[in-house]
């Protein structure tokens, strides 16, 4: 094995080693030491990823590193292999890079927690699973990672397991993800039946000969999308993500914003060949993505929990990515994955820093005026807010504008909807920002700036959020769409999307978007920065607003539509099936056995002679039968 292959192996192996090591020694390691170890292991993986990025010849289309034959039976051959190409390298850099920063941040955030070493072991395990997901050369290895990240997500949401609500949130996330997984498993079965392999490369090769709109492919892609829906929190399976904020804030940043929830987008991009063959699925993805982007953004408007706002924002941004996928703009979606990872991780870590500063307070109604006391958090959070709103020349501007331009080219209606979503995003983000950092302090704690291990990641992520756009500067602004060209080597579909808009139209779109965003910022400044209007209990609100504040009552709808009938059914099964049928049946069998036993037990006299006589009689009867039957 050459050095290059060792590097590939080290990328997932280091976090796994870290997880095992810290997990086994968790009782002996102090929080700081465990955190340091976990960060070091992941930083090592990041270094390996960077080395690979610099040395791999991705322009040749990537390569497959085969480790061993995993499943080798008649008619089925699944190797355990990694796919190293532009797409997986992008995701590897993202996972290990952002992951390392968040690990570093966690050292400060979790320093007082008694189970910090368990936390770090699970965080490392998550990174391993995520790397497996993005590096796998076939759907089955991706699926191991897929389930692995689901498990780690469950563990980390319920990390503070003494709180029953958090456990409920963890279970909810797990169960809803399972619904998506059913789609994914069915899709795998269908694809295997169709192609006889689960290797991405082999499927892509064979798919070339299929006609567009092939029913099996449409069905398989729809099922894959169901899986993506569950993992990436799209309508109608998005309700778990806001609840997932029960976990520690670094978890929200790493798993529920930057990496795991983008697994769905990754899966679609990875299978782009198939999705290109299924226009129906693409329309569905576009519709679901747009609807999610708008709906989640509208819910975000009136939430009062700092992390909930960011959670709905994440759902909404994931909707943007799916909308881009639906339009065939895979590069735009991946670009947004990367920039979103930067600024959303930054925002979550900033929120964590605020929560840390206020000793656990999460309600923005009891914050305000924090810009003076936590200066670094203030500045970095401002950068994150500007970036997510798409202010010119920040990273979010480039990626969001690319999606909007694609949307305009696709249909002005989609453009209008997504632009509306973008304005909603600006509104709730600046509402959050002004309520937290401006005005006067409305709480009772003594805010203090976070330690350096927390502020350094914030600063690095802030820098990345500012300059992240240079990865893919459009031709219009004198760039070369570097990331698009890089990604297009992994699969032709990734570079196929192109904008045919005139420069004047693009400038106009950019101008309109920017003007509206700035107007929205001004509006929120007037409403929330100078004399903030605080919302009271949602019950006292006028109707449309109340519906938004109560999250469109979607959780209640699901409870009414699924939980209640299921609960009723379970109660019936218990009352009739168990109480009236199963238990009497079992008791009846017991009684019959007991009665029969009572009848025949008189034979057991305990008299040795009698038993011998009985034995003799038995032998004689047996002999007679044998003789007669001959």
């Amino acid at each position: 094995m050459v050095g290059q292959d060792v590097l590939v192996l080290l990328v997932p192996a280091l976090p796994l080693l870290g997880a095992v090591l810290i997990g086994t020694l968790r009782k002996r390691l102090s929080a700081g030491l465990a955190g340091g170890l976990a960060t070091t292991f992941l930083a090592g993986a990041f270094a390996c990823s960077v080395a690979l990025f610099l040395s791999e010849h991705t322009e040749l289309g990537g390569r497959t590193l085969r480790l061993f034959d995993w499943i080798h039976v008649e008619g089925m051959m699944i190797p355990f292999a990694f796919r190293i190409d532009a797409l997986s390298l992008t995701m590897m850099l993202l996972v290990t890079g952002v992951g390392t920063l968040i690990h570093l941040y966690s050292i400060g955030y979790m320093h007082a927690d008694g189970r910090a070493s368990t936390f770090f072991a699970q965080l490392n395990l998550f990174c391993f699973a995520m790397l497996l997901l993005v590096m796998g050369s076939n759907l089955l290895i991706t699926f191991i990672g897929w389930e692995g990240v689901g498990l780690c997500s469950y563990l980390l949401i319920g990390f503070w397991y003494t709180n029953p609500d958090y456990n409920y949130a963890a279970r909810k996330a797990f169960v809803i993800n399972r619904i998506g997984d059913v789609g994914m498993v069915l899709a795998m079965a269908l694809l295997f039946q169709q192609f006889g392999t689960l290797e991405y490369a082999a499927i892509a090769e064979q798919a070339g000969s299929l006609l567009t709109g092939n029913h099996l492919v449409v069905l398989a892609t729809l099922l894959l999308f169901v899986g993506a829906m569950g993992k990436s929190a799209q309508l109608p399976l998005f309700t778990w993500l806001p609840d997932a904020m029960a976990g520690p804030t670094p978890v929200s940043a790493l798993i529920h914003a930057a990496t795991m929830v983008t697994a769905g987008i990754f899966l679609v991009v990875r299978s782009s060949v198939l999705f290109e063959l299924a226009p129906v699925t693409q329309d569905v993805i576009l519709a679901v993505g747009t609807a999610t982007a708008l709906l989640a953004a509208s819910i975000g408007l009136f939430q009062n929990d700092i992390k909930k706002v960011l959670a709905y924002s994440t759902v909404s941004q994931l909707g943007y990515m799916f909308a881009a996928l639906g339009m065939g703009a895979y590069d735009a979606a991946m670009f947004h994955v990367v920039t979103h990872a930067f600024f959303k991780a930054l925002l979550f870590l900033g929120a964590g820093s605020v929560i840390h500063a206020l000793g656990g307070e999460q309600d923005i109604r009891r914050m305000g005026g924090l810009r003076g006391s936590i200066r670094i958090t203030y500045i970095t959070f401002l950068i994150g807010t500007l970036a997510i709103s798409g202010l010119p020349l920040l990273s979010g501007f480039f990626s969001k504008d690319l999606i909007l331009a694609h949307a305009y080219q696709y249909s002005p209606v989609v453009f209008a909807l997504l632009l509306g979503g973008a304005l909603l995003t600006t509104f709730y983000m600046f509402r959050l920002f002004f309520l937290v950092f401006h005005g006067s302090y409305r709480g009772g704690a003594h805010p203090h700036e976070s330690p350096a291990t927390m502020t350094i990641p914030l600063i690095i992520l802030a820098v990345l959020s500012v300059v992240g756009g240079v990865l893919n500067v459009p031709h219009l602004l004198g760039g070369h769409e570097a990331m698009k060209h890089f990604l297009s080597t992994a699969a032709p579909a990734l570079g196929a999307s192109s904008l045919h808009l005139a420069a004047a139209v693009e400038w106009t779109l950019m101008g309109i978007t920017t003007a509206l965003v700035i107007a929205t910022v001004a509006l929120t400044y007037r409403r929330f920065a100078i004399a903030p209007t605080l919302d009271g209990d949602s019950a006292s609100m006028p109707m449309p607003k109340r519906l938004l504040a109560e999250r469109w009552r979607i959780d209640e709808l699901y409870a009414w539509a699924f939980e209640r009938p299921f609960g009723w059914l379970s109660t019936q099964f218990h009352a009739v099936g168990e109480q009236r049928v199963m238990i009497p049946l079992m008791v009846g069998f017991g009684a019959i056995t007991l009665r029969l036993g009572g009848l025949v037990r008189r034979i057991q006299t305990g008299n040795a002679s009698f038993h011998l006589l009985a034995m003799l009689a038995g032998i004689i009867i047996f002999l007679i039968i044998t003789l007669l039957s001959n």
Binding site: R601, Q604, T605, G606, N607, A608, S609, L612, L613, L616
Partner: protein, 110 residues
């Protein structure tokens, strides 16, 4: 086998051996089933063994086949071992219930 012995065995017809052996075996079975004295029961067991041995020897002589006699030795060996265990049980029985009446051991029942 010594030719004289074979000849002398063959002097008596086979049916007689069968009959004697059957009688001895039946006495043994009746003794085991109906007697209460454990010593008698053990002796009756020996009687059954030996009736079989007798028959085996007779058949061996009549068929000129020495293999049956091997079984006789095996049976003798097993009987010796069986008696050792049986007598040991008998001693324990005497110690525990101060009796050799097999019906004293009737507690293993419903």
């Amino acid at each position: 086998m010594d030719q004289d012995i074979i000849t002398s065995i063959r002097v008596i017809p086979m049916e007689h051996y069968l009959m004697l052996s059957f009688l001895l075996f039946s006495i043994g079975v009746a003794g085991v089933v109906f007697r209460r004295n454990t010593i008698i029961i053990l002796m009756c067991l020996e009687l059954m063994f030996n009736s079989v041995n007798l028959l085996l020897t007779a058949f061996s002589a009549y068929h000129s086949d020495p293999r049956a006699q091997v079984f006789v030795f095996f049976i003798m060996l097993v009987a010796a071992a069986e008696v050792t265990v049986g007598l040991a049980i008998l001693v324990m029985m005497k110690r525990n219930v101060d009796s050799v009446d097999v019906n004293q051991l009737n507690r293993l029942k419903w």
